[in-house]
Each structure stands twice: as structure tokens, then as C-alpha cells.
């Protein structure tokens, strides 16, 4: 079936992405996800010092550099059999938590909200009623009159800046009703105004989270202290107190604004519980180490779920990962485990090079046990939710069940959907921000007890290692082979590689492609529903 839906470029993401889909009778029947950029990080790393990879690989992603840095340092530590000391473990947890909170706030408000919230409709809101609604929804208030006036000023100025063309070819000022049909017209103008006010406030809050990253890592993006062996950051008492103060402020905002906003908007999009679930397989390497630093004891543990076989979690084995390249623009061998992986890009381009029937992406197609697997907050929350032996199980289950109850959802399998993916991210944000307060206290106590060592020296040897960790958007693996004291080969399997993967050797679609298939699209020329699916993965 020829494609009749194209989104290129997909905006409000990190990097460059193209979506093609074929819709029939208002439903997507087939879809292709194309990553349209190659930079060559893995090749650039060859021959360099192993500890330099920390500084270079974080430049893969300006939104999640912290996670790439941690995965890189962990790959070196795994190769050299270095266990980072307790103090470094806690500081890395705090640094990574700030990264997650930053990224999740940025995603929900700055990147995704404009698919669910219509800023033009906010102009119709009654300010007094907006306060009443905010109180009723249990979310925080803002100077709603000022926000409305500011929007009005922008509209009256005639230059919509970043909102230009935001309504898929509809002019929201001359045709407000039609523009609102892109959203749920039943969602009151006052809720739109609340969301716009918090959209602006979120800019401050993501910056607050980034300031914590800067406190520990020197700057954000690209913090500099989680070096292989531990951390270069020295947490004196003032700094620990400052961390606690700042995390408390963030936690307060996440629980009093972000979560109530999510629960207030979700009822207007309950239809999104019925589609967008995707491939049904979920993989997490886990993130936030506990004292013993094993993958399945992590605060958010490692696990693999194949929902077709039941809602059970198995312990993942990295040896079962293979990357296929049949539908990509790479010429290196297909089906390699990333520890033995290679990356060679093709060297000539013609008009037929992009062909969804053949080759169409710079993303390889990673498969776990020959299956496509979704990674990200939904995968992590499901794994924790279904891991009764993990210490985090209770807090995750309580958080998820609480939200399900508020939304009147009785069947937890409905979480495997577009709305479930969106909600999982925000609920995870609340769970993590709660943990940060505990970790600050644990760090203060460890300092007193003298168990807060920061660095474990090591000697570089010719070994191989894997750094398995999570970025906010999903499972992340860095794979290093050291030879002659230098990097012989280096492979990175990012969350986007998993979720945005093209078809594999057997022609099985990647998780985002699978999630698009079956998604209703009311108007193929304005495929906002498809855009929601794509952004729900936080690519």
C-alpha cells in the first residue's frame, strides 16, 4: 500500500526524523520510521584513550549527555572490573536523577504538550474560572491573567514566532472551531490556559533540574565529573545541603503540578488507551544502583517482558542482543552482537537510496532474542511493577495503581498504549524525584560514617566491557573493546536505536512502527495522532 501520511521533519525531538505511513479508512495500516542523519561517533572513538570516551560519547545527545557519560564510564569499569565506591554511586544516582527529571519535564511540557493543548483556545479562557478549575484539579495556580495577556499580545502582534503554522494548515484565529478539532473540543479553555501557564513555568523547572546537574557536573549540557572509576565531584556539607534543597523544590513541583496536570488532561484523551501499544515486548537494563550494584537490584531494575507470553519479567541477557542492518544504509555485517559490532556507512547516494521497501534509515535494527523491544519509561515502570522481589516494587505499584484508580482504569494492561506511555513517563518522574530526597540523606549519613569514598583507581588493560544503563528515553548500552591500551572498537546501542528501529532481516517492524500501525488518523493531511505516537517515545 502506498504511503499517504508523511511527517518530515518531525519537530520537537532531539535530532532528525522522518515518518511515512499508509492509512486506509482512517487507520494506519503500515508505517516506516527513518532516521535521516549519520555522524559516525563509533568510528571517531577508535584509537583513543578508553577514559576519553566518557567526554566524547556524551555529545551523542544534548538532552541526555549525563546518561551516555555514565554508560561509557560503566563500560570501562566493566572491562577493568572496577566497582565504584559508595559515595560515587550515590552522587551518580543524584546526577542521573536530575537528568531524568530535567528530561521528563522538558518532554511533557516543551516537546509533547502542544499535541494535546491548544494555546489558541487558552485565549477563550475565563481567568476566574481558571483559578477555580486549577483548585478543583488539585494543580498549582499561576498568574493566569498575565499568561493570557501575554498570549494575546503575541497574537495581536501578528507574528506567532514558534507557534507559526502549529495547527497543521488551519488558522486558529479565523477558524478556531476547526483548529480545536485537532484536539478534544470538550477540553475546557480554562484547562488549556492552565497548561499554557505551566508550559511557561516548566521552562524554569527544567532549568532548575539542569542547575543540579551543573552543581555536580560543572555544566549542563555535557557535565564533566562522572569519570570512569567514580566521580571527580567532591560533595562538601554545603553542597549536600544545596542538593537537598534543590531536589526538594523539584519534587514539590513534580508532585503538585506535573502529576495533577497529567491526571487532569488524561481523561480528555482516554481514547489513546485503545491504540499505540506497539510491539508488546519491553526491555530495560535498569538504572540507579543500589549498594550491591547488580542490574536486577537497581531502583528501576533490569528485565525483559514479552506480553504475548504473559505479564512476567525475565532477567535479560545482553548476549541475546543482535543488530540487523538489512533495511539501513550500513554495509557492515548484519546480526552482530554489539560487543562484536561494526559500523560501516555506505559510500554512494542516488535518488533511489531512500526506499521503504529496501533501505530507509541510519538506525540499525536491534533485536532482543530476535524480537523487537520497546525501551523507555513504560518498559521500566512495567518491569518494576511486575518485579515483586525488587525493593522498588511497592512504591512503583502504589504510584501506578493510584493513577489508574484516579482515571477509573481497572485493567492495568491498558497501560500498553499511547496514553500509558505518556503517563508512565510522568509517574516515573514522581517516583524518581521522591528517591532523590532519600539519596541526599543517605549521602549525608555516608559522609558521617566515612563510607562515602568517591574514586577507585584502575589500570587500563586489554579487556572488553559493556556499560548497561538507562537514558530517560530508554535502555542504553555502550560496548568497548580495549587493545594496546586504546579503544579498538566501540559500539553504542541507544534507546532511539531500539524504539525507532526500521524493519529487521525478517521484515518485522520496529517498536515505533508497530505502535503507529493501528493508530486512527482522522485526516491524513493533518496526522496529529501519528505525531502523538512518535513523540510519546521521546525520540
Amino acid at each position: 500500500m502506498p504511503s499517504n501520511v508523511v511527517i518530515d521533519p518531525v519537530t520537537r525531538i532531539e535530532g532528525h526524523l522522518r515518518i511515512e505511513a499508509a492509512a486506509e479508512n482512517g487507520v494506519i495500516k503500515d508505517a516506516w520510521v527513518s532516521s535521516t542523519n549519520y555522524r559516525g561517533m563509533e568510528t571517531v572513538l577508535q584509537g583513543r584513550a578508553p577514559e576519553d570516551a566518557y567526554y566524547i560519547t556524551m555529545r551523542i545527545c544534548g538532552v541526555c549527555p549525563t546518561s551516555h557519560g555514565h554508560a561509557s564510564s560503566k563500560s570501562v569499569e566493566d572491562a577493568l572490573k572496577v566497582t565504584v565506591p559508595n559515595g560515587a554511586r550515590l552522587i551518580r544516582n543524584l546526577l542521573e536523577a536530575a537528568e531524568f527529571i530535567h528530561s521528563h519535564i522538558l518532554w511533557f511540557y516543551t516537546l509533547a504538550a502542544l499535541d494535546y493543548v491548544n494555546p489558541a483556545k487558552a485565549l477563550e479562557a475565563d481567568v476566574a474560572n481558571t483559578y477555580a478549575l486549577a483548585e478543583q484539579a488539585g494543580t498549582s495556580t499561576a498568574d493566569f491573567a498575565a499568561v493570557k495577556a501575554r498570549l494575546l499580545k503575541l497574537v495581536e502582534g501578528g507574528d506567532l514566532s514558534i507557534f507559526t503554522n502549529g495547527w497543521w494548515g488551519i488558522n486558529p484565529l479565523t477558524d478556531p472551531k476547526k483548529a480545536d478539532e485537532l484536539y478534544n473540543p470538550k477540553m475546557p479553555a480554562e484547562l488549556h490556559l492552565i497548561a499554557v501557564a505551566h508550559y511557561l513555568e516548566a521552562i524554569e523547572m527544567q532549568a532548575e533540574a539542569a542547575q543540579i546537574i551543573a552543581l555536580i557536573g560543572g555544566k549542563f549540557p555535557h557535565p564533566m565529573t562522572s569519570v570512569a572509576g567514580g566521580t571527580a565531584f567532591s560533595p562538601n556539607d554545603d553542597r549536600v545541603a544545596e542538593l537537598l534543597y534543590r531536589f526538594t523544590k523539584l519534587n514539590d513541583w513534580v508532585t503538585k503540578t506535573m502529576i495533577p496536570d497529567t491526571l487532569a488532561i488524561a481523561p480528555f484523551y482516554v481514547g489513546a488507551l485503545e491504540y499505540g501499544g506497539g510491539c508488546g515486548n519491553f526491555l530495560a537494563w535498569g538504572v540507579f544502583d543500589r549498594k550491591n550494584q547488580t542490574l536486577d537490584s537497581r531502583y528501576l531494575p533490569a528485565g525483559f517482558i514479552e506480553t504475548a507470553q504473559g505479564l512476567t519479567v525475565s532477567k535479560p541477557d545482553v548476549g541475546k542482543v543482535k543488530e540487523y542492518v538489512e533495511h539501513t544504509w550500513y554495509t557492515s555485517p548484519s546480526g552482530l552482537n554489539p560487543q562484536k559490532g561494526e559500523t560501516k556507512a555506505m559510500q554512494s547516494w542516488s535518488d533511489s537510496s531512500y526506499n521503504v521497501e529496501d533501505k530507509y534509515s541510519w538506525c540499525k535494527a536491534p533485536r532482543y532474542d530476535e524480537k523487537a523491544a520497546e525501551v523507555g519509561p513504560l518498559a521500566r515502570m512495567l518491569v518494576a511493577y511486575l518485579s515483586p522481589d525488587n525493593e522498588s516494587n511497592k512504591v512503583v505499584a502504589d504510584t501506578v495503581n493510584g493513577a489508574l484508580k484516579k482515571l477509573g482504569i481497572t485493567d492495568p494492561t491498558k497501560l500498553v498504549s499511547l496514553l500509558g506511555r505518556v503517563a508512565a513517563r510522568n509517574l516515573e518522574c514522581a517516583v524518581i524525584s521522591g528517591w532523590t530526597i532519600e539519596w541526599c540523606a543517605e549521602l549525608a549519613a555516608a559522609k558521617k560514617e566515612g563510607t562515602a569514598a568517591l574514586f577507585e583507581p584502575y589500570t587500563v588493560k586489554d579487556k572488553s566491557g559493556a556499560g548497561l544503563w538507562e537514558a530517560p528515553r530508554g535502555a542504553l548500552g555502550h560496548f568497548i573493546n580495549i587493545k594496546g591500551g586504546r579503544i579498538d572498537s566501540y559500539q553504542v546501542v541507544t534507546p532511539s536505536t531500539w524504539d525507532l528501529s526500521p524493519r529487521d532481516k525478517a521484515g518485522v517492524p520496529g517498536p515505533m512502527e508497530a505502535a503507529l500501525i493501528g493508530t486512527p488518523v482522522a485526516d491524513v493531511t493533518r496526522p496529529i495522532e501519528a505525531a502523538r505516537i512518535v513523540r510519546s517515545f521521546d525520540p
Partner: protein, 416 residues
């Protein structure tokens, strides 16, 4: 519109901006302090503070300034960096100061409507808009290695560049290819200026390019350039002599942002002079904020203002948090600064040049500067450098012993 004005040191400032800043907890005093930092960085006297405040206030109160932001082979870190600006924050910038109908990471429109937003705006504002470029220009596969809306990015860059009044290349990738161009440069990356010089139809008509290297760019660096433009006030005046009006050096960098090294203003400089170095992370020396030079810090050879501007609303900067500088503001920074952890060596012609870098002739002047300003004045550390320069395989213990022996002769102590 900003009709009411308040007097600040005799200058009128739109109250709109103050009200907005107050709404997110920033007082007028904070804002003036921020303008003071800008004045200091821009090499202006503190008497320029009210002028800066007035210029920003006016800009926030009048119509939006046309600008387009395009992303090449980027990690989006420079966009992220701008999102960390607080006074004004990114919402103030995109809603009150700059019109940015094209900024992929935040714009509302998607797909063909996103493409049209930029396209139509560029046509309507031909010759008037500022083009902000993030990310490397990748030439592999005739530029098809990065395609946006079915076109190679290089075509999009060239198209928008030809209609721009001026171009700002933000971050090392846009300036010279950044890490993407590091050996063996698999995606054939280069910088915006180099690409346009080689490909634009009439090179004499190329709009001026302001280079802001660094990985990432510091939001204050962009704001400083905007303030520079606002203070000059007249775009035609700037375009007539951009090098003078924007105070650019030979690499098109504003001199006031890249005229001194990290080391010049480093808060750990005192420890450098005392010979007090960190030799391993995590120890007492690190807790005491000793100098990171022995850990490979590239501060002395890196021309950037991190130690003064700091990062994330003045929170910290790499060295303050314990991370040695890796010289991300240098040209071809990955090739020229790795191994990052090796104590600086090879001080001499060529260290900053290197393959595809600045070239020996240009580097000579800079290296001279490093030696004189950064190290030459300090006999102790300078000698240590030369010693290590001859034998870069010295281990931690040997370095410590060497530094201690040298220091003893000078009558100090090296307790690390």
C-alpha cells in the same frame, strides 16, 4: 507594547520586562547584576550597564526581531543550552525578543507545515533575518548523509544563508565541525563558514558569520552577541563593517568572549601558583579545590570565558565542580586535546593548529600568548610543564615527587 518606562540610572527601561522577570522571581537588581556580568564579559565599563538594560528592555517591548534557527548534524545541546538561560529565559527570547518561526526543537508545527513556516518567513524577511546555525555541516554522500524534508541539509543551509543579514554559528560543530569532524571524520564534517566560503554562489556577498565555538555554546555568549547588536542599534552600520562593529577576531569570534584563557581567570589559579595539584580524583586535594592541571586540564590553552561567565544561571562550571577543562572551545577540539587526561605537553608551535586546525602561522601568536600569559610568568609550573613535555609517560607518583622537589627549592610544600 511597553508604554510605561522606569528610570534606571537615568535610562528608560520598559517595565514589561521587569514585570515578567519579577513573575519568575528575578528582581530588577538581579537583572542589572546580569547586565553587569555581560558588560564585564564584553569588556565594557560598568557605566554601560544601564545602556545594556535599556537595550534589552526596549527589544523586549518592541516588535520581534526576525531570526531563523536551523539544525545540522547536531546533538541539540546548543538548543538545550539556550533553554537554560534564565534572565531572560528562552520563553522571553522566543516570545518577546526574537521571532523564531523556525526552531525545530521547540516549534509547534510539524512536517511540511514546519518547513513552510521557515520558508515563508525567510522569503518575507529576505536580507533582514539573522540565521542561527547549530550542528556540523556534513558533506558525506554529497550532503545526503543528513536529509531534512527530502533535501540535503547543505542545500537548506545555503538557501537560508543567501537570504540572511548575518549568520551566527553556535557551538563547535557549527563553527568547524566539532567532534563530528574528529579523525577520521567519517561523515565529512565541516563548519558553516568553511562550507559557505567554498559553495556560496557569490562569496563576496556572503553574510558575515559570527563564530561562537564551545561544546555547547554558553547561552550568555549568544545573549552577549544579541546585546552587541542591540547596543549598536543599526544593522546597516554593522553590516558595513561587521569585524569592527561586532569586535571579531581573525576566526570571526567576538574578541570579548574569546580573548583570554580559562586559566587566566580560574578560581583555582592560586593553587596552580602554589604548585598545589590534584593527582587523583576523590582525595583531599580535590576536596580542597586544588589545581587540576596535573589531571590534564586544558584551561591554559583554551580561549573561553567559562571561569567568568560560569554555567546554568551562575551555578558552577567544569573546573569548579572538579572536572578538568577539556578545551571544548578550541578549534578541532577533540583531535587537538586528546588524550584529555594527559598532562598538557607539547607547548609550542602546532599544538593548537594540528591537522585542519588553525594552521601554524595563526597558532603561533596564540601559543605565544599561552606561554607568556598562562605559564611563562610562573617559573615553577612552567618548568614542570617542560619537564613533563620531554617525558609524558611520567606516572602520578613521579609527577608528585617532581613537583614537590621543585616546590621545596622555592620554600613551599606540595601536600596532595
Amino acid at each position: 507594547m511597553a508604554e510605561i518606562h522606569k528610570e534606571v540610572y537615568g535610562m528608560a527601561v520598559a517595565t514589561d520586562l521587569y514585570e515578567r522577570l519579577a513573575a519568575h522571581g528575578i528582581t530588577r537588581r538581579d537583572f542589572l547584576k546580569f547586565c553587569g556580568t555581560l558588560a564585564a564579559v564584553m569588556g565594557l565599563s560598568q557605566t554601560a550597564v544601564p545602556q545594556i538594560a535599556a537595550a534589552v528592555g526596549e527589544a523586549a517591548g518592541s516588535g520581534l526581531y526576525p531570526a531563523l534557527w536551523i539544525n545540522g548534524a547536531a546533538c541539540t545541546g546548543c538548543t538545550e543550552s539556550i533553554a537554560q538561560a534564565t534572565q531572560p529565559n528562552v520563553a522571553d527570547i522566543v516570545l518577546d525578543i526574537l521571532s523564531l518561526p523556525q526552531m525545530e526543537t521547540v516549534m509547534m508545527a510539524s512536517g511540511e507545515y514546519a518547513e513552510k513556516a521557515g520558508e515563508e518567513y525567510a522569503a518575507a524577511n529576505k536580507g533582514k533575518y539573522i540565521l542561527i546555525c547549530e550542528g556540523a555541516v556534513t558533506e558525506m554522500l554529497d550532503g545526503n548523509v543528513l536529509r531534512i524534508a527530502e533535501k540535503p541539509y547543505v542545500e537548506i543551509l545555503q538557501h537560508y544563508a543567501e537570504g540572511a543579514a548575518a549568520i551566527v554559528a553556535v557551538g563547535s560543530c557549527a563553527v568547524d565541525g566539532g567532534w563530528v569532524r574528529a579523525y577520521p571524520n567519517p561523515a565529512k564534517a565541516t563548519g558553516v563558514k568553511a562550507y559557505l566560503d567554498a559553495n556560496i554562489s557569490n562569496p563576496k556577498k556572503r553574510p558575515p558569520v559570527v563564530n561562537l565555538p564551545g561544546c555547547p555554546v554558553n547561552p550568555l555568549e549568544i545573549i552577549a552577541v544579541v546585546v552587541n547588536v542591540l547596543l549598536t542599534g543599526d544593522l546597516t552600520k554593522i553590516l558595513k563593517d561587521p569585524v569592527k562593529e561586532l569586535n571579531l577576531d581573525r576566526q570571526n569570534r567576538p574578541k570579548y568572549l574569546y580573548g583570554s584563557t580559562i586559566h587566566d581567570n580560574c578560581e583555582r589559579r592560586g593553587h596552580f601558583e602554589n604548585g598545589e595539584f590534584v593527582y587523583q580524583f576523590g582525595g583531599q586535594a580535590e576536596a580542597d579545590n586544588y589545581c587540576l592541571y596535573a589531571m590534564g586540564c586544558k584551561g591554559p590553552q583554551t580561549y573561553r570565558h567559562c571561569s567568568k561567565l560560569r554555567w546554568n544561571n551562575n551555578m558552577s562550571w567544569c573546573v569548579a565542580s572538579g572536572g578538568p577543562c577539556i578545551g571544548c572551545g578550541n578549534f578541532n577540539w577533540v583531535d587537538n586535546n586528546t588524550p584529555f587526561r594527559q598532562r598538557m605537553r607539547r607547548i609550542g608551535a602546532g599544538v593548537i593548529g594540528g591537522p585542519g586546525g588553525l594552521g601554524i602561522a595563526k597558532a603561533g601568536a596564540i601559543v605565544g600568548g599561552v606561554v607568556v600569559v598562562g605559564i611563562g610568568a610562573h617559573a615553577l609550573a612552567s618548568k614542570a610543564t617542560h619537564r613533563i613535555g620531554k617525558n609524558s609517560t611520567l606516572k602520578n607518583e613521579e609527577m608528585k615527587t617532581y613537583d614537590a622537589r621543585k616546590l621545596k627549592k622555592k620554600g613551599g610544600s606540595a601536600d596532595a
